[in-house]
């Protein structure tokens, strides 16, 4: 508000500068003087208002009489006031001064009790356990605290002491707390479950592999040896009569075993431990090779043949040769 008034005044000031030079008490001059005088009054009022507002703290102090001086000054000014505009300024000054006066009065009232917030604060700091530092004994904890530092539980200490001044209702809280306690538990369980199977799986794998490897190589060799054993035994029982190949390999109870027997027997022949030949009826026979004949047999020409068998042929063989039992006993079940 003040600023806008100043702007208003400025052009007028310039405009009426000419009139200022005429001090004569003519009717025109009197009006001009009036304008000038009024401007002066307004300016002085504004100064007074400024004084009161800017120097508030000073004027509050009971030692000064500044407020009274301002009021006396205002009284003097008011004698020359004729128009509403100056009177409005006077009223504004009065409002501001009264406000200050009220505060001074209330201060007077409490002055009698001599309560000093500064001293109060000092006492509180001591109570809260302020560590006042000795000369130059700062250290890293002293960041920002020029004269001592408050311990961390300073406010807690104070709060505990003043709790008894309050009749606060204790807050109600559910004993079991909020629902947040639930979710973490299931997560742990699932993790544990996941861990267990993987361990067991690992354990299983190596043993299985071992078994497989065993059955692969050694099983075949063992089988071949076993069959050789059967062959030799059968041959020794009756060295002169030939052993029919079909009677030897066919297992009347299992086609699969028959195929296995043929497979294993082929190894015997490959290795030169047994030989196949056709008898007088042109039927294949098998006989173990004698110890001495082994080298001779290896030097002679090798012949190869492919034997195929189907379940139909297998059945025909059983019927034709009337094979009741297998010569080669089925292997022990532990390998399978």
């Amino acid at each position: 508000m003040r600023k806008s008034r100043r702007n208003e005044e400025a052009p007028r000031q310039n405009g009426s500068a000419d009139f200022e030079t005429n001090p004569v008490g003519l009717q025109d001059g009197h009006d001009d003087n009036d304008t000038g005088r009024r401007r002066e009054i307004r300016s002085k009022y504004r100064d007074l208002i400024n004084t009161v507002q800017q120097n508030r703290e000073d004027m509050l102090s009971p030692s000064t009489d500044k407020l009274t001086e301002v009021l006396e000054e205002a009284n003097k000014l008011f004698k020359d006031v004729r128009r509403a505009r100056e009177a409005a300024l006077d009223a504004q000054l009065l409002v501001v001064a009264t406000d200050l006066g009220k505060e001074k009065a209330s201060q007077l009232f409490s002055e009698g009790s001599a309560f000093d917030p500064t001293a109060f604060a000092e006492h509180l700091l001591s109570f809260m356990g302020l560590n006042r530092l000795e000369d130059g004994d700062g250290g890293p904890q002293n960041a920002g605290a020029a004269d001592g530092y408050l311990p961390r539980d300073a406010w807690h200490r104070l709060s505990r002491r003043v709790e008894c001044c309050f009749r606060t209702a204790p807050s109600f809280h559910y004993m079991m707390g909020s629902f947040h306690a639930e979710p973490p538990a299931p997560k742990q369980r699932t993790e544990r479950q996941r861990k267990a199977p993987t361990k067991e799986a690992k354990r299983i794998m190596p043993t299985q592999l071992k078994k497989m490897e065993e059955s692969h190589q050694e099983a075949t060799e063992k089988e071949v040896e076993r069959i050789l054993g059967y062959l030799k035994t059968y041959h020794q029982d009756d060295p002169t009569s030939p052993i029919s190949y079909y009677e030897f390999v066919v297992d009347p109870n299992s086609f699969a075993r028959t195929v296995e027997n043929i497979f294993h027997t082929s190894f015997l022949i490959r290795d030169g431990l047994a030989r196949m030949y056709l008898d007088s009826d042109k039927l294949p026979c098998i006989a173990p090779v004698e110890e001495g004949d082994v080298e001779a047999a290896s030097s002679s020409s090798r012949k190869q043949c492919i034997i195929s068998i189907s379940p139909k042929i297998w059945k025909e063989l059983i019927d034709t040769f009337e094979i009741k039992d297998s010569i080669i006993q089925p292997p022990e079940p532990h390998n399978e």
Binding site: L124, R167, T168
Partner: protein, 250 residues
């Protein structure tokens, strides 16, 4: 107009019309539609309900208060009626009466209407505060200390104090309203908003001040909850003087 007269009953009509007009401007729209039922209405309402129903509704009101009290914000009658009482509003006075009795007898708390015009309630401790701090080492809320300082200074300054006095005092205690405090965070917000919302303090603007200034006063909750005598006693201990000061305002 005539229709309304019939529904409310001729006796209670004038009684009911008076209340909303006085408080309607300041309250929620919700509450202006809620008119305190008369005794006869309450009687009639009670007859229609079983005791179990009334007890159930009373319990709900009690639980609502207890949970709301956690934040120490006063409960407004409008909220209570809208969220809890609902259809039982015709026996509202009876429910409040029973709730207050339960609070006293079961919980040792007192249900107080701190603002008869706006109908807001708080819970305070019905038991006398202990003379000394409890021997149990339970952690105290540090905000209590801060509140004590403000209330104490305000009290010693005659019940009203300019905000600058408070801010300066707090600054000496290493609590700066302009900075974030380690313990309290945004101090200005805590003091001028939270404490005011909880009705511990009043933060009123002083007219004709440029720039704008406020003053602090004791709030309605502080008037009920805080013992001036005990504050004086502690201050006396601090100053190691006889507490004769401030007696005129007691």
């Amino acid at each position: 107009m005539t229709q309304r007269k019939r529904s409310f009953g001729s006796q209670s009509f004038s009684q009911n019309r008076r209340q909303p007009s006085s408080s309607g401007t300041q309250e929620d729209n919700e509450d202006s539609t809620f008119t305190q039922p008369s005794t006869s209405q309450v009687q009639r309402g009670l007859e229609k309900l079983t005791p179990a129903q009334v007890d159930q509704k009373t319990s709900e009101v009690i639980q609502y208060f207890l949970v709301k009290d956690q934040k120490k914000v006063p409960v407004r009658r409008a909220d209570l009626v809208k969220h809890v009482v609902k259809d039982y509003r015709n026996i509202y006075p009876e429910i409040i009466k029973r709730a207050a009795r339960t609070f006293e007898q079961v919980f040792g708390l007192k249900l107080v209407e701190i603002d008869p015009k706006n109908h807001t309630y708080i819970l305070i401790n019905n038991l006398e505060a202990a003379d000394k701090p409890s021997p149990v080492e339970c952690p105290a809320n540090p905000k209590l200390g801060l509140l004590f300082v403000i209330l104490g200074v305000t009290f010693m300054k005659g019940g009203v104090v300019r905000e600058n006095v408070i801010w300066n005092t707090l600054k000496k205690l290493r609590v700066d309203s302009g900075e974030k405090h380690e313990e309290f965070g945004d101090v200005k917000r805590l003091v001028t908003e939270e404490f005011v919302r909880q009705r511990y303090l009043e933060y009123v603007r002083i007219p004709h001040t440029e720039p704008m200034e406020h003053e602090f006063r004791w709030g309605q909750r502080a008037d009920m909850e805080v013992s001036k005598a005990k504050i004086l006693e502690f201050m006396g201990q601090l100053h190691e003087q006889e507490p004769q000061i401030g007696r005129c305002w007691l």
